[in-house]
Symmetry: D2
Subunit: 327 residues, 4 copies
């Protein structure tokens, strides 16, 4: 392929009350508010030099507008457009400045129907990495990955690996050898994008990297002291898969965010994808804890890049079992 995707770069979420969201993300999680107006809040982590990695838009209903990937250079966008057109997938351009702080952007639906966006340019800002006086809550560092439920993981996997140039770090098979879930990356961490078998396309969660495990624990304490104990959905714990230390939260609109720290470098071409059996109890939670039912069953809905209508969910190819989907 003649383009290079750098990394997952932002999530655009619709939320019903910006003040309520600000309290959760800024006061609770410690994200930096780069900018805002009456209909938008632009948020980033302490390490990020990009204008934002999370855009919250005020809307009547809490849905997911798009997941954004940064590419190496402007002309990659044209190559990516060609690919999506050649596959018969919907595409749409948004010229530079159409979206605040963003260069020219290509919106598409991927092979599973997920609304994606590609861009080479976003306004840059100062990293707050050494403004320790501003650290609080979870001290969120940077966007790490997104995780989507799709009806047919093998199809998504093939598209991302063969067409978009992703690599696989770890994956889960059923006993019959069907691909249940896959962790795919462009930046050399465990993933930028995970797919899990389930009704979809749906956003299961988006995730931010923290500096260390204590930031995760501190976040639980801070959230609980602010009255957000109910937002803590699963964890803290250690994933078998990826080895990351994790916490899953539900934001005030029900969108799921994962705090994540401690995976590993995947830079090497000779690093073989690690296979997990669907029934391996250590895969999801290395310490043996079970995830609550709602973690399996509740996801966020995507909307169409043109109509803005909610994308209908299809039943998964593989029979849903618990664990149906995983971290």
């Amino acid at each position: 392929m003649d383009f290079s995707i750098i990394r997952i770069a932002r999530t655009v979420l619709h939320v019903v009350d910006l003040e309520v969201s600000r309290k959760f993300y800024v006061d609770g999680l410690g994200m930096i508010e780069t900018e805002s107006d009456e209909n938008h809040i632009y948020l980033r982590g302490l390490e990020e030099h990009s204008h934002h990695s999370l855009l919250l838009k005020k809307a009547a209903k809490a849905v997911v507008e798009v997941l954004s990937y940064k590419v190496e250079k402007e002309k990659d966008l044209d190559e990516i457009e060609k690919l999506f057109i050649s596959k018969g997938l919907k595409t749409k351009w948004m010229e530079k400045g159409k979206q605040h702080a963003m260069g020219r952007t290509l919106r598409v639906h991927d092979i599973s129907g997920i609304p994606l966006e590609f861009f080479a340019e976003m306004t840059t800002v100062d990293r707050m990495l050494q403004r320790y006086d501003l650290y609080h809550g979870a001290k969120i560092q940077r966007i790490d990955h997104v995780n989507c439920a799709v009806p047919h993981v093998q199809t998504a996997y093939d598209f991302y690996v063969k067409e978009l140039g992703f690599l696989c770090s770890e994956y889960t098979d059923t006993e019959d050898g069907n691909l249940w879930a896959a962790w795919l990356y462009r930046k050399p961490t465990v993933h930028d994008q995970a797919f899990m078998n389930g009704p979809g396309p749906k956003l299961h969660h988006f995730a931010y990297t923290l500096t260390d495990r204590l930031s995760v624990l501190d976040c639980c304490d801070v959230l609980a002291s602010m009255g957000y104990a109910n937002s803590i959905e699963r964890g803290p714990g250690r994933h078998g898969l990826s080895n990351a230390f994790f916490l899953y939260l539900r934001d005030p609109d029900g969108h799921r965010i994962e705090l994540y720290t401690g995976d590993y470098l995947t830079s090497d071409p000779d690093l073989k994808p690690k296979r997990w059996d669907l029934n391996d109890p250590l895969r999801q939670t290395f310490w043996g804890h079970k995830a609550p039912d709602q973690w399996f069953n509740e996801t966020s809905t995507f909307i169409d890049i043109e109509t803005g209508e909610e994308i209908e969910s299809k039943e998964p190819f593989l029979e849903q079992r618990k664990p149906k989907i995983m971290a």
Copy 2:
């Protein structure tokens, strides 16, 4: 009263296989094995200068022989004997040396039937506090407290506070003002002894203090990598009551051990006991997590100081509800 109890000092447990126990407590939790023979293992934490704080005895059945309190001076034992006799409670002397590494010891049953032991003298050994090369697993520091289920908490509370000189740091009331649980101390931490409403007398758990929260997380990782994921019963999490960061484990015999860090100093006479309502969701777990059923329902059985027979359990005075008993 004319005696002074210093602190909870040891637990004597019966276990069915010493090798299995050693692997869990020494290799897994990082306790120091002071000494052992074919029927006993004497264990202590890294900070402890007493010969042991946990005695494991090989036996046919996993029960709890006795909970031991250290007193200030030898003659305190005689005063304590008088008190128990005056209350019509069973007492029994074990002369110095009868128990390895122990001075003269007074065994009794307390007002709820719990087998207790008082001693002023135990062989002292070197603290391993600065032998960081030996630190591993949970890096257990020192014994912190024991927690017992009793049928009538108010009776146990009155006996420990009015007769034995304990103070109360925190307690839980039902909506009707009945005492549901109490945290009592002699050393100025949140507790040496907790009582909770439940079928009893039973040992709910014994607890060790760790240096910090990461030692708790490290312990989960080490136990899981050794195949002990199933031993992790509840947590890690933050208690509302006591503020401690905790983890509950079940040892290979089913005895429950709590890893505990981060409570507070209770030295001041003007520190008022903190009241919690039984229905306050933050009391048990500040982060809102629920404890699993087995944490409420499974406890260890005590044996009689004379006959060695298992002590029968009585139904609790207050109707059992979930949370029936708490951390």
Copy 3:
């Protein structure tokens, strides 16, 4: 003796600019400001239920007014007065309310000339222990100890141990068996009061307990990001003596504050004082780091309880050597 001292309870410091002090102690170190007026700031740690443990008074010169000990009950004060009078030491009463938030207080000079204060009653306030949303900076928990340079450590030791009922946890001897430094306690930690050989009486430092080592590191980051890198005088490091993890800071007036975490329980009567040789390199800093000269040579001056004049310094009994004084 017929009284019981509970613990070190506060330090009263004179500072030249309250705004400057507030920025350091509240914004930088994360202390809670209980109350203030134009001439006073009353500060406490997150765990403390006493009104304050640090009183900053606006003054022309940065000196130390008094070190305060909390006693068990009101009448202990009268017994302590008798003792000091019997020793020919200066005493002075301050009636309840004379000092804001304080009950009746006895001020004295100790055997080395240090201005001390004893009280049984201070206004109580809510602990902020679980207000994690307010945690920042060093997340200071509670006052731990004070450390004074005195010309004759043996004299100070004898007075505190034999007359005031302190116990010794650790001490340093010269090769000739002269007492160089001593760590003395009432609450069962390593110390409430340390004495070191040096020109005195002087306050070398006062110290606060933190929850864990990362709070110390976080504090360095926060202070540096606020422009306080020059306030970091020594550490972070591990003390050999006491085993605590430490950091020494100089406040804007030059008073030295130690952040301290990780010593051990000293509740047991059979715990023998630990001897260190003055020349043992691990004693001061377990990791072998040397303290800077100013740490040895700079101290805060006390003032007279009656005249308010600076107390003159006497040359130490033992020849000053580096390490002349220690942690």
Copy 4:
């Protein structure tokens, strides 16, 4: 350029006593010993799936044999050979198997005379990432970077950036705009290779990534308890440059190793190199600590890839000042 360097991959050190080295690296630092014979020890971090990242060779004198870079594919080696030949630099092939566990390897001297090695293939082994039962000491995760003193940093910079495809994350200028030091990367972290102005070519240090700051502190405690306090040369502290939390150690042969954690992702093409002024006090140590003289003055000597003779040191282009070289 027609090749792709992946990352720094190993250091080959000569040491005089393998047993002494093993105690330091395996028992002290917690590295995994993949394999050894009477003349070699092959070591790796807990995360590494490559056979080793540190090769210790028994020799009469403690020098540095070579620094090794992993390339994407076998034929990259031929392209790199062409480049070095075209620049008139010495090259030498070592066929597959000539070095244990290594594929075909190209050895060269770089523009400053540093002996480098390129390879595409090294035997792979199991990651020990989740063998937490084996974690101890510093719990070293993976090789992070090497840092060399060279007489002319601008020359080295130009060669690595223009000829080898490295990118610059941060750099230090003198007040006259001369390049004093540069941090260069291939994998998207702050660096694989740093250059500092100084007599050279010399290896200043090689560095390993740890999981978190507490692993650094734990390492200090473990080393001190093993008698290695003298091996702790500088830190722990926070670098201004790179933001990493660091510790510098000297191994038993005097080679310097840095423990390093907490830098940031450098994946983005629009990330501009960060300039530091040589006189900025926060650059070296964010907390203001000064490095000891020996940190500036002592380095390890390289040997010639053909003759094995020690490479002579040249005086630096820029006048040596303190800080002459930096982290």
